[in-house]
């Protein structure tokens, strides 16, 4: 079971205006893994995650996803669409469709991209919204919700597509402290259900308690990668030790 690799990225490189932000990142994710991508700000974590979903075009590297191999720098629109159909992406700023209700936010992709019949899409959406505790706000608009509620709807939007893997890009960083808990709780439930998740985060308690593996990045390179217990209890590099200890002091 552990060998059931669903996603494998190799040598992912990316520069912005000649500045190298990713210097060849490798990552292997097995089905059911919850991988926390950690590291100081500006280490390239978010860019890496965005490259995997083609939101950012990498300059080099390959992605093997669910049996298909993609050259990240040469991927076509169709490639991007094929990967996105089997993944979900949760943004730091939620990015709920502002002109759509909660329910429409979740059903839009199902009815328009996947061509599900309306009632089936609705059923699926309501189920996903129940899971994140937002089924009582079906007709609200995003502007009427708190940040935490918006993020939970965004997670439901991802879940409804029944993705093979969920990407989270700093899902709690834009939230007021008192709202972080409700989002993390949802994510913890998903992890316990055995969903495959890739989470860029600064929430160390979450990384420590929930993630199965850690990818520690700095300056666009992987410094350490392995089971999260090992990373937190016995960091291998000096930088990761400093990182973990610095968090303890906080």
């Amino acid at each position: 079971m552990m060998d059931d690799i669903i996603l494998k990225a190799e040598g992912v490189r990316k520069s912005f205006d000649g500045r190298e932000v990713l210097r060849g990142i490798d990552l292997e994710v097995a089905r059911g893994d919850v991988v926390a991508i950690l590291g100081p700000s500006g280490s390239g974590k978010t860019t890496f995650l965005r490259c995997l979903n083609f939101l950012e075009r990498a300059d080099g590297g390959t992605l093997r996803f669910d049996g298909d191999l993609y050259d990240l720098s040469r991927a076509t629109r169709a490639d991007a669409a094929a990967v996105r159909r089997r993944t979900a992406f949760v943004f730091q700023n939620y990015n709920l469709f502002l002109n759509k209700t909660v329910l429409q936010n979740v059903t839009l992709g199902l009815t328009t991209a996947r061509r599900l019949p309306r009632d089936e899409a609705r059923e699926r959406a309501v189920r996903a919204l129940e899971k994140v505790g937002m089924a009582d706000r079906l007709d609200s608009y995003p502007s009427q919700l708190s940040g935490g509620q918006q993020q939970r709807v965004a997670i439901a939007r991802g879940l409804a597509a029944e993705p093979e893997i969920l990407f989270f890009d700093e899902p709690t960083s834009a939230l007021d402290p008192e709202l972080i808990g409700e989002v993390l709780a949802v994510m913890r439930t998903l992890a316990e259900e055995g969903r495959t998740m890739l989470v860029v985060t600064h929430e160390m308690a979450f990384a420590r308690g929930v993630s199965s593996r850690v990818l520690f990045m700095e300056n666009g390179a992987v410094l350490e990668s392995g089971p999260s217990r090992e990373f937190f209890e016995n960091p291998k590099t000096e930088r990761s030790r400093a990182f973990v200890e610095g968090l303890g002091a906080r």
């Binding site: 979900a88 943004f91 990015n95």
Partner: protein, 228 residues
């Protein structure tokens, strides 16, 4: 002076003229406005999208179109198309000619309003749409354009209001609309001050109505659009 404007004879002329003026306004000026505005709206959305998506070649063509149309007077454009093009064998009836010229003219201004509005929609909306599997056009249609439309609404209302009054220029290319009808009546009764004031008043009342509708429309869009 006031007596010149408001003696019994003048009032009779104005009351006489009113139903005819209003009739031409409703039957010609308003349809001319509506058709021209719809054409302009379609043009503006396409031109704005082409620029937003940075489609090569087409994008330069759109910039060229906006440059030429915004840089030349509407009246000159009307004359050029109606009186000039026949020398090249292109003969248009006055009404469709006016619709084309007004549509393409205002379309250039509205395209800029729409482009600005598209760019004001947060980039994340497009990304989120693509991440749930929508194609670029689908995201535009379902997510970005509706929000851009809300943002552009005041500017588009401006364009509509300006177009209502602009249709009076169609009189110069023989379209029998309200203003030209006023000229015709004036030729008979010779009451310029009163008649043109009356015409101005009808324009003013209609534009007041549009302003009122704009405000209601904005409130409605706010309620349903949820854009802060």
């Amino acid at each position: 002076m006031l007596e010149n404007l408001l003696n019994a004879h003048v009032i009779e002329v104005l009351i006489d003229a009113f139903p005819r003026l209003l009739g031409y306004f409703l039957r010609v000026s308003i349809p001319l406005t509506v058709l021209s505005f719809l054409l302009a709206l379609a043009i503006s959305v396409v031109v704005a999208l082409v620029q937003y998506a940075q489609v090569p070649v087409l994008r330069q063509l759109c910039r060229f179109y906006i440059w030429v149309v915004r840089g030349t007077p509407l009246l000159v454009q009307l004359y050029l198309v109606f009186y000039g093009l026949p020398s090249l064998g292109v003969v248009l009836n006055a009404f469709p000619c006016a619709v084309l010229v007004f549509g393409f003219n205002e379309g250039a201004y509205m395209a800029e309003s729409m482009r600005g509005a598209l760019e004001a929609v947060p980039r994340g909306q497009l990304e989120a749409g693509e991440c749930v599997g929508l194609s670029w056009l689908q995201v535009m249609w379902h997510v970005v354009l509706p929000q851009a439309f809300r943002i552009a609404f005041p500017a588009l209302s401006n364009s509509l209001i300006s177009m209502v009054k602009g249709t009076s220029l169609a009189a110069t290319i023989t379209v029998m609309e309200m203003f030209r009808q006023a000229q015709v009546i004036n030729g008979r009764v010779y009451e310029s001050l009163g008649l043109y004031s009356e015409v101005a008043l009808i324009y003013l009342l209609f534009c007041t109505l549009l302003t009122f509708l704009q405000r209601r429309g904005e409130r409605r869009l706010n309620r349903f659009g949820g854009v802060k």
